[in-house]
Symmetry: C2
DNA sequence: TAGACAGATAGACATTAATCGATCTTAGAG
DNA sequence: CTCTAAGATCGATTAATGTCTATCTGTCTA
């Protein structure tokens, strides 16, 4: 699957958007270090079961949007800002461009195929 | 549903990404006007049936990413660049920010709950 | 008004995706 | 080595999604 589609699919879910928002602004941490998030933090924050969290994190990691670093028994997650930049760059093409002249009218439109 | 999630869901599909790309660069047109795209153009371009095109266009329009203008029997579609700008703005938060100091190590990590 | 055509809607079907309980794997503690 | 805990994987279930055929609605034309 195209990497852009994969990234967009990964982001097109309210749970996973909450996850990336949490990764940007960790609100609690069982891990005694600022800016570090482990899966258990998300489990508590989201109120979902551990397999479900694991499922969502796999999707985000496979999409390249989140990096996972295993330390002993824990896995620390962090945003991959470069991947977000790629998505923003791809979608940015659609926010600018020729300011289309919106003055089409049906007078210019013949039947298709002409029959 | 949150408008950002709705927009991302709308974009998280290869067919719909092809549609918005087509709207940006129309490659043919049964409508005799540059920069104008009607549903029949997409039907030919994508090789899908008319109801399927209609379905995808409804999703894109409902998400605000595409504007539909009905002219007689035809519907002309155009990108809503402002909506794309909103998505880009929202995702842009994740491509920049504190350059997290990635030096966490398990030595700082006690068992959860402390028992 | 009747026919033709663009597009929307309805219903059916197949595929994908989200979620959970149960289990497995792996790593630190004792 | 054994126990415990974090996280991954498996299997099942349910919900959401994409696609089609058939049909309906609205508009233009003769």
């Amino acid at each position: 699957m195209d990497s852009l589609v994969r990234a967009l699919k990964a982001l097109a879910d309210p749970i996973r958007l909450r996850i990336v928002e949490f990764l940007r602004h960790p609100q609690r941490s069982c891990c005694a270090r600022e800016g570090v998030v482990c899966a258990c933090d998300l489990e508590e924050y989201l109120g979902l079961t551990q397999p479900t969290i694991s499922h969502h994190m796999k999707i985000l990691v496979d999409a390249g949007l989140v990096q996972a670093a295993k330390h002993g028994r824990w896995v620390y997650y962090d945003l991959n800002r470069q991947a977000f930049a790629s998505v923003v760059g791809a979608l940015g093409h659609y926010q600018t461009g020729q300011l289309a002249t919106r003055q089409a009218d049906s007078a210019t439109h013949q039947d298709h195929g002409g029959l």
